[in-house]
Amino acid sequence: MSESSERAGGQPEEKRRGLGGAIGDLLAPVAGFGVTFSNMFRPTVTEQYPYVRHPTAPRYHGRHQLNRYPDGLEKCIGCELCAWACPADAIFVEGADNTPENQHSPGERYGAVYQINYLRCIFCGLCIEACPTRALTMGNDFELAGPTREGLIFTKEELLAPLTQGMLGVPHPMVEGTTDRDYYRGEVTGPTADQIAWVERERPEDPTLEGARQAAATKAVR
């Protein structure tokens, strides 16, 4: 430390001595470009965002997502622990009763209203630590700018993970003979024939039915 400061202190003196005289005066106007010229030969750090998009670090705290179980039921139970944990008061949740006709998540309760205000969110991740069912996780999406305030309050529809191939759209009953704990332990791996039959009866036009039927069939073959 002391050595470097000594050098830093001594350098101008030395430079003045070495470049003294007429040549020194000649080069003085361009001496400031030294930093510029030297950086021309170093690797570039500027990102060409948005033309070139680099992946974030894997554990980057980005946009939230509300996850689903493999049969399509929501993991969120509307417990509001995320809202409680939030230091910026960015999350608003209202719970509601799961009924046999309107089952959104395993167990008794589901999140009927779920909003995250990204104008307030500080991406600290305390909410996902608080989540008792791993329903709320953070993705790597950081492009959260928008022209309106309303648009930056993300609702449940925007936050909910899309139904992947083989998942059955909610609401539908739980897998017969299981409890919410079985779901949590990962013992439910996809929709069953009974669940598909229930959705066929209640919502024959549901677009997820075909994929769910295929998933159930392949699992049965296996």
Partner: protein, 819 residues
């Protein structure tokens, strides 16, 4: 004797010296160790202990180490830790709590671990999570991790005890607070401990759980008059005192979490008891109401109506803007308009007819509203034609009674007086009409300090829970029975006597006179118990044709002078018309208009006639101005409707039946204005600003109470019976709208009569009877009970069927009864 509270008697209780955690203290003999520790600021964890319930020692969480001196005075430690909630202090006792004793601390940790063995730990979805004593104490005193690896005991959940109360037996720690409350306080043991050992659980009567193979129980099962398992009017309190989330309410289920809620203390608006409540709201919506803690009034209990009925204030038919009639001639439909326009229209219409206007302010307002109505009527309308009574009974006798004995009488008989007195209830069914009085009386009765005598047609379940003596009286004969009564109560006059007169007694001519005479004869104090929250305030404000504020008689010149000095305007000297007189005058065209407050058409003596009167006055060019919270039959008839704020949106003071002021603040700061503010604006618009002056109670000569002799009692002919009826706590009232869960706990409507009456009417074995009155008939299941002979009892306006309201008959009228 193990009492939880020192006896409220004057005798000196000797003090006992104990040492708790090294702190020496003196407490009255009989104090529990847990209370003695509380006194010096040492908190011992507990679940089952509740200061208003008897000690149970059920949860064992409050274990402490105790040492007492033996005969030689050497301190000897008890071999095992003791439950401090059941142990009374003794001289020289040395108590070491978890703060100073390893033994106590270890014992409490062990109990906590046992309590959590079968607890599902579903705190994230539990309504109690965040305000749960078990959760808090597990965090404070429990282990960080569980050692229990086996399968927990589970039950199907939740079990609906009633439509409102849900029971989750997995979460229950068997502290028995709910069963003890139901048994000791409410007297409705609708839930009880069942089974033994690990399968022990709380439940309703369930033959499956109890192992009855289709047999009926040997003893008397708790059934109500209608023959179905009992639902309690006080069941909501069990939710509040449950130290875990085992009991939850269907209405509040999963609606919010405690940290979302903003709590505001308030006063219940459904009856004249003035129970303290706590209103919890979130984002401008009231989500639940809890009992407040007020030892002088409701202790820690409220009725289910006070707890669960609050959505009427934001019902879909709530008025948001003033309404006026469309069209030039004012005959069109009601349309919304601005306040400025509505006030202008109303002021013009009223100013043109000044001198021939009346006011019906209703009995639901605060004291401030009532005073504003009183001033508005006298100063702006210039009349004494005002009557707050909007019910089917009560004439000049009641007005005289109120003016002579109630108005300006201040705080006389209080709740505390009811505990430790011989009480006569006349025209009052406290469980249905004044729930807080019921609980206070029952407390005194159970402690053998109070004796209750009930004047009525039969011993109701509520009266039975008060262990009351019945003074049987058919409707219409109340005065006669009271006159024939020389004394009442169980003591020989060593306890004070109190006569509680319900507003229904006014329906029996001479009843109030006889009750007052009886009170005088027996040296009893007399109190009047109305049904509505604003009735007492209305009496104090002089909303009667013969009364001015503070109990001042209209007819007294010096009283008028006092009012004139305060208001700057002399009130009219002639006594005005009462409710019936106003309606008659409207019909006959003697009045050119009326300003109506919170009056429900169905409550008036004859709704059809009242409707006709209002239509007649409008047809004759008169005016009807209505101040209402929600659209009603009267707002539909009005020329101008001015919306007023419900209690949650205004501040004010209710007066309880005792005369105790109960001030409350607004829960929400909205644009809605209270009655007083609206009347003030209207008066200003008319050009006669309302005086803002308070007056002390009248000290001068009071109205002399008229002595009315009882008329001959009704004589039912063949095929007829005398109708007895009153309102139940949970009826089809508009204050309980939008509360389906609460509605499910209402009593089933039945017709009650004595077996002899049924035989005389030829109704032996009939399952249902049809009761016919002048305006209609109702058919209800027949239940034989110990009703006075010749009387049929019907609920007035039950929740799920038509009741006496549909008959067009009042209590004491003769109705036809057929199979």
């Amino acid at each position: 004797m193990t009492t939880t509270q020192p006896a409220p008697t004057g005798q000196v209780v000797p003090l006992v010296e104990v040492t708790i955690d090294g702190v020496r203290t003196e407490v009255p003999k009989g104090t529990l160790v847990i209370r003695a520790a509380e006194d010096i600021g040492i908190a011992i964890p507990r679940f089952c202990d509740h200061p208003l319930l008897k000690p149970a020692g059920a949860c064992r969480q409050c274990l402490v180490e105790v040492a007492t001196p033996d005969r030689e005075g050497t301190l000897r430690t008890m071999p095992k830790p003791q439950a401090s909630c059941t142990l009374e202090v003794s001289p020289g006792m040395v108590v070491s709590t978890q703060l100073t004793s390893e033994v106590a601390d270890k014992a409490q940790h062990g109990v906590m671990e046992f309590l959590l063995i079968n607890h599902p730990l579903d705190c994230p979805i539990c309504d109690k999570g965040g305000e749960c004593p078990l959760q808090n104490q597990a965090m404070a005193h429990g282990r960080a991790t569980t050692r229990f690896v086996d399968v927990k005991r589970t039950y199907p959940k939740p079990l609906a005890i009633s439509t409102q109360i849900l029971l989750d037996r997995e979460r229950c720690i068997l502290c028995q607070r709910c069963t003890r409350f139901s048994d000791e306080i409410a007297g409705d043991p609708f839930i009880e401990l069942q089974m033994r050992g690990a399968r022990q659980q709380i439940g309703t009567f369930d033959s499956g759980v109890l192992g009855f193979a289709g047999d009926a129980p040997v003893g008397a099962a708790e059934l109500d008059d209608s023959g179905r398992p009992f639902a309690s009017y006080f069941s909501g309190n069990t939710i509040q005192i449950c130290p875990v989330g085992a009991l939850t309410s269907a209405a509040y289920r999963f609606r919010a979490r405690p940290f979302d809620l903003v709590s505001v203390p308030s006063i219940a608006e459904h009856d004249a008891c003035g129970a303290a409540i706590r209103i919890d709201h979130r984002r401008g919506v009231v989500l639940r109401r809890l009992a407040g803690d007020d030892p002088a009034v409701n202790e820690e209990w409220i009725s289910d109506k006070d707890r669960f009925a609050f959505r009427w204030q934001v019902a879909a038919d709530r008025l948001v803007a003033p309404l006026v009639r469309d069209g030039e001639d004012g005959s069109g439909p009601l349309v919304e308009t601005s306040w400025a326009d509505a006030l202008d229209v109303a002021a013009t219409l009223l100013a043109q007819r000044r001198g021939s206007l009346a006011a019906l302010p209703g009995g639901r307002g605060t004291l401030e509203d009532a005073l504003a109505w009183s001033a508005f009527t006298r100063v702006v309308l210039g009349t004494n034609d005002v009557d707050f009574r909007s019910r089917a009974y009560g004439g000049a006798e009641e007005a005289d009674h109120l003016a002579a004995r109630v108005a300006g009488s201040g705080l006389d008989v209080t709740y505390a007086d009811l505990d430790g007195a011989d009480v006569l209830l006349a025209g009052l069914e406290p469980e249905e009409e004044a729930a807080t009085i019921f609980l206070r009386l029952r407390k005194g009765v159970l402690a053998a300090r109070t004796h209750v005598t009930v004047l009525g047609p039969y011993l109701t379940r509520g009266s039975a829970k008060l262990r009351a003596t019945l003074l049987p009286a058919a409707p219409g004969t109340e005065a006669e029975v009271l006159e024939a009564t020389d004394t009442f109560g169980a003591s020989d006059g060593d306890r004070p006597r109190i006569v509680l007169v319900g507003e229904r007694l006014a329906a029996a001519p001479g009843g109030l006179t006889a009750a007052a005479a009886l009170a005088e004869r027996t040296g009893a104090r007399l109190a009047w118990v109305p049904r509505r929250a604003g009735d007492r305030a209305a009496v104090e404000a002089g909303l009667l044709p013969i009364l001015l504020p503070g109990g001042r008689p209209v007819a007294d010149e010096s009283a008028r002078a006092e009012v004139a000095a305060a208001w700057g305007v002399t009130p009219p000297a002639a006594p005005g018309r009462d409710l019936a007189g106003i309606l008659d005058a409207l019909r006959a065209g003697e009045l050119a208009g009326v300003v109506v407050g919170g009056v429900e058409l169905e409550d008036l003596p004859d709704p059809a006639a009242a409707l006709a009167a209002l239509e007649a006055v409008r047809a004759a060019g008169g005016v009807v101005v209505s101040l209402e919270v929600r659209r009603s039959a009267i707002t539909e008839l009005a020329d101008v409707v001015l919306p007023v704020a419900p209690p949650a949106e205004k501040a004010g003071t209710f007066l309880t039946w005792e005369g105790r002021p109960r001030a409350f603040a607004a829960v929400f700061d909205t644009a809605a204005l209270g009655d007083a503010a609206v009347l003030g604006l209207l008066a200003e618009e008319i050009g006669t600003p309302l005086p803002d002056a308070s007056m002390p109670a009248w000290r001068g000569q009071r109205v002399a109470a008229a002595r009315l002799d009882a008329p001959a009692p009704p004589e039912p002919g063949p095929g007829q019976a005398v109708l007895a009826t009153w309102r139940l706590l949970l009826d089809a009232g508009r204050g309980q709208d939008d509360e389906p869960h609460l509605a499910g706990t209402a009593r089933r409507a039945v017709a009650l009569m004595a077996e002899s009456t049924a035989r005389g009417l030829g109704l032996q074995g009939a399952a249902e009877v049809t009761v016919r009155g002048p305006r209609g008939s109702v058919t209800l299941p027949l239940v034989l009970a110990g009703v006075v002979d010749g009387v049929v009892w019907l609920p007035f306006s039950p929740r799920e069927r038509a009741g006496a309201a549909a008959l067009g008959a009042q209590s004491g009228d003769i109705v036809e009864v057929t199979a």
